[in-house]
Symmetry: C2
Subunit: 475 residues, 2 copies
């Protein structure tokens, strides 16, 4: 490893704005100690996420219990020009929650109610603080489910804000496709609705999709109407081991190109399988594998599985091993979702830096193979998993936080992967969002003029720059 030993150029631009005492007093008068905390532990908990950055915590945390609470908080913040950082479950990965310009954290996790289940319309309306698992428990009795599964038990509001997706997106789409409407508190404290419960609409600008993925920079999401889906009559999960990553990826590419409506198809590389075996007490063959799920009628699930098994065999894949019971399936998917923790266990004390690129499916094998070669050559420990049906994969670099050169090297590899992805027609972020970490990558991807359009929108809707300032792009 041969790299500069300063990470200064990788750190966010921290410029804390003043938080007037009068503002804190006004908050205290409005909320009282049950809903307002300035305790260091609470502030620190709200001042970090799963990103690799250390930034001073927010000055205070407001625990909103209603849209009115949110509107009142934002109105006060606007009056005193204090930054407001919406907070759901704290599971974001790119520094979205960090108070780089100071201000307060607005925690909506107590706004966690299901407001209405409209099973006949396959929709549900929830508050933003509800987690996706809680939501699925709440709608289970209707025979419906909400498919988007980023792994972490994220809040629905947070999933909207980062335009999250995850393992089921190959079939069901991302938050982009599955949010029907939002209630949003604007930066001036007004409450708006961005849509209806109709499945489609051509009524004006698509404000729903503007707020989805805006990472808290344009307002606070206070209600979300989501699409639900009938629980499939049949679900089967299968594992298939391959002689190489390339063989696995080529199987996926052909599956997608044939139009097989596979519900999940995840790649796990051999080293990561070994970590998972140790972490989750599994006995998977330590080769690259695909973890798949098929949804449909029994006949259609059977047909899909046969098609994919046929493709896999052409590329040297093993016979599918089936996880038939819900318990077996849950165990496998939990193991997949624990890849991060399994990776971390393999290098105690390490801190992860995750990539999030997404390429057109035909370039996926090239992109992954070139990346693996480069990462192997670097000597940095890593794990590799991917929502490969979408062309999206994550390399998790496991760096020693006390060795700056490792951080620099990992970020350099990340940057090279992004450059490769852009050459291949892809994006720097498949699902994690930009936050602080990818502001440079976004500029490389879209160019200055497109980011300038985003900036114009931000300035128009948030002229005082109070909503999660310093994220996505600089102003």
């Amino acid at each position: 490893m041969n790299a500069p030993n300063s990470i200064a150029h990788l750190l966010p631009d921290v410029r804390q704005r003043p938080v007037p005492e009068a503002f804190l007093e006004a908050l205290a008068a409005r909320f009282g100690p049950e809903q307002l905390s300035t305790a260091l532990a609470v502030r620190e908990q709200h001042g970090r996420d799963e990103s690799p950055f250390d930034v001073p915590p927010p000055t205070a945390v407001v625990f909103a219990q209603s849209t009115q609470d949110v509107a009142d908080t934002v109105r006060l913040a606007s009056e005193y020009e204090v930054p407001v950082i919406p907070y759901g479950a704290g599971s974001s990965l790119e520094g979205h929650l960090l108070a780089v310009q100071g201000g307060i954290s607005l925690d909506v996790s107590r706004m966690n109610q299901v407001l209405s289940i409209d099973a006949d319309d396959l929709t549900v309306t929830v508050q933003p603080g509800i987690s996706r698992k809680t939501l699925n428990e709440a709608v289970k009795h209707t025979g419906l489910f909400f498919p988007i599964d980023p792994g972490a038990d994220a809040s629905i509001g947070g999933m909207c804000s980062t335009r999250a997706s995850g393992t089921n997106a190959v079939r069901y789409g991302t938050m982009r496709e599955n949010v029907l409407a939002l209630q949003v508190v604007t930066p001036s404290g007004e409450v708006i609705r961005t849509g209806t419960r109709a499945k489609k609409s051509s009524a004006g600008y698509d404000l729903t999709r503007l707020y989805v993925g805006s990472e808290g920079t344009l307002g606070v999401i206070t209600e979300v109407t989501l699409r639900l889906y009938p629980l499939p009559e049949a679900i089967s999960a299968a594992i298939c081991s391959f002689p190489s990553v390339e063989a696995a990826v080529r199987t996926v590419i052909q599956t997608i190109q044939l139009g097989v409506p596979i519900a999940r198809v995840e790649l796990i590389d051999a080293g990561t399988v070994a970590c998972l075996n140790r972490y989750s007490k599994l006995t998977l063959r330590e080769e690259p594998l695909l973890l798949m799920e098929f949804h449909g009628t029994p006949a259609s699930v059977e047909e899909q599985a046969q098609t994919v098994q046929g493709i896999a065999r052409e590329f040297g894949g093993q016979d599918f091993e089936w996880a038939v019971t819900p318990e077996e399936r849950t165990r496998l998917w939990s193991a997949r979702h624990n890849a991060l923790f399994a990776g971390l266990q393999s290098r105690p004390g390490a801190r992860p830096i995750s990539t999030d690129t997404c390429v057109p499916i035909s370039r996926l094998a090239d992109c992954i193979l070139e990346t693996i070669a480069e990462v192997e050559a670097s000597g940095i420990p890593y794990f590799l998993v991917g929502h490969v049906g979408d062309g999206n994969f994550h390399v998790g670099f496991l760096i020693d936080p006390n060795v700056p050169q490792e951080r620099v090297l990992a970020e350099d590899l990340n940057h090279k992967l992004v450059a490769r992805t852009l050459r291949m027609g892809g994006t720097c972020s498949g699902e994690h969002g930009v936050g602080l970490h990818k502001m440079g990558f976004l500029l490389e991807e879209t160019g200055t003029s497109a980011v300038e359009v985003m900036r114009s929108i931000k300035r128009a809707l948030d002229p005082k720059n109070i909503m999660n300032p310093g994220k996505i792009f600089s102003l």
Copy 2:
């Protein structure tokens, strides 16, 4: 019929802005007679669409042949503060193309090339002037197709601009779901890209979805990257007649609630079936009918059809009649798409006013039945068709343009239908867009504050208000 005999309150607010001679001279110097026309016939052709409004035509028409042509035109228009109205196929329905504030029409129909077919990625990149039928001819040899079918052979750029959908949307989504990326000329004449060819992305604000549905008010679309789908192995179309509209609609509701992946399901009411029989020389049973299409493997198509036939029987539906060959299917779908013309033939000299509401599926039967009762009581001739799988249906009022009371009555019925739709949680526009016709409805639907957010975006991105001004909302 008992209504005021003035339609003044229904007409658009026409305030033509000056078009300086120097601007026209600069255009002429840049483009020459091959690409610039001030002939009255050309201007009149570009100054109307399928809407019921009569507005003076634009001052000139520029025929762009490249992104550079578009950028140069917009830059000149910005310099002289002249309105620019992008024009594709002229098939929009709500007054989108009308020069209510004067200015020029920017015709992109010569920008009709396929720029790249990336069959392995299931994507295609085209210029905006290509029509959907031409696009489908161009990609046919790859075994892929572009599913969005609004009936008219609209331009792809126009379909982006109105967030179009149509008969296939119940399975494949709308333009919202199927545009991956755009190239756009901004109101200052800059060229930006809004996305990549990756299937999903969390990289910054979703500019693609902001421009999709913005009806030419934020810029000119100059390239479009679309998703394609494998042509289904099997396609079957079926017709099923029902004893009542309610029986047909309840069959659809249950089909959707069961999660059957039906590709198309259109309702045609009995009177409209009679019109279609006469217009398209068909011999359909003159009862309410569903026209359906199933896509998939042969086994899955069979399974879907059996499920829906079973549901239909419960509601008194007849045995399905099948259209098996591509020619038979085309004949049926052409007939469906000719409903407007068939309706017009039934009342020679009539002009249509179309509604476009979309409700959550559980309310569809109530919404249609209440509407039919109200329309029948009014005595205005009408036809009724619907993309009922999405909750979207159209009543076409066939009014005598020489009888103002009919226009007033039809608009009053339209307004009552919108009010009913909003009470039921739906939207005033499923797929046609707002244009001039629904500006009031949009305000009723979203409220002033949400429209104010749209206005802020418009003002920020188009400070001189040159891009298709006076549409969607007033400033």
